[in-house]
């Protein structure tokens, strides 16, 4: 269940340019620590509170439902959401943001994929959950489980985006 609904069934993909530009601006102007702070503040903000509340209330069912609905509204996303015994796996075979930005030859912030960890982790923490991510740069695996399910995230397991010449 998505907390905010639009009149269109899917988002406008050019907005990925603005998301990427926002990360670049904060990183270049204020530094990487402020960019990480931005992602964390967003994840635990009132903006995502309806999502955290739903995850708290309905657990893994809500987590799986959220990501299925989320990616269904993102253009050109190729994603499988799998409910496991106690958690949820999100297998992203085509990240809609990376796909669109590469299609338009945009320079992507190298740490772009880290936002998925920092935003989702701070959101999940509000619901007593956590996330770990492997891969990136167009395809990744995201594992959601109740707090205490996983070893700490190794950020180096999240790929940087290399410039394509």
């Amino acid at each position: 269940m998505l907390p905010y609904l639009d009149k269109k069934p899917k988002g406008a993909p050019d907005f990925y340019f603005a998301i990427n530009a926002t990360f670049r601006f904060i990183q270049e102007r204020f530094g990487m620590q402020q960019l990480i702070r931005y992602w964390g503040d967003l994840g635990r903000s009132d903006y995502f509170k309806p999502v955290a509340d739903d995850w708290t209330k309905r657990g893994g069912t809500a987590v799986a439902e959220y990501w299925r609905d989320f990616f269904a509204a993102e253009p050109d996303a190729k994603v499988e959401v799998i409910s496991t015994g106690s958690g949820v796996e999100v297998q992203v075979s085509q990240c809609p943001a990376i796909h669109h930005m590469r299609k338009h030859s945009r320079e992507i912030v190298p740490e772009f994929c880290q936002h998925c960890y920092y935003v989702s982790q701070s959101l999940a923490e509000c619901a007593g959950w956590e996330v770990r991510i492997e891969g990136g740069a167009g395809a990744c695996s995201q594992f959601f489980g109740p707090k205490g399910s996983f070893a700490p995230q190794d950020i180096s397991n999240i790929k940087r985006i290399e410039k394509r010449l």
């Binding site: 406008a12 998301i19 903006y47 253009p75 943001a97």
Partner: protein, 188 residues
Amino acid sequence: MIGCYDFCGHYEWTFAWIDKNFGREALQDYWRDAIAGDSQMHAAMAIQAKGIIGMEEYWGHTLAEEGAGFTSVRTNDSFRIDMHDCPSKGFLIDNKLENHCDYCDHCMGWIGPTMEKAGFVVDHEHNHRGTCWWAFRPSESLTPSEESFEITHDPTWASEGTVIDRYKGATHPDQKTTDPSLPPTSST
């Protein structure tokens, strides 16, 4: 992941975050550098290269993609938009999202610098309720458009409690006058 479906929601939240942590000047720099100069570089390139035709190409694509309700008119010396259903502000209103004091400022925040670089100025009014009009004209043109805008004849344009922001020959978000509950006007 943060996505494009609810982009306007976290975009507006970001305005409040930058404003609160780094101040209004940083927010205006964000609109100018990140949005005009980076995200919307395709708009800047089209308008700098083709002028008014570039405006028509850019907004024709982007407003259709965003699902806007609008009409536009291109003349030899101006490009005009009547926006009667802004998809961006409309998303915020429909979802009761208001983290920043004036979301509508962001449009002039990035369009103003884009137009300035291309040699144009902006006449514009918005009513903070998802309707607005725009006229872009060469900066050497001293006279704003004389024709009234369709949107200003709508009875809801300046209904009670509405606050209208007005720009005339502007290129910066602070170049506005703000008037509460003004009657409908032409663009003059």
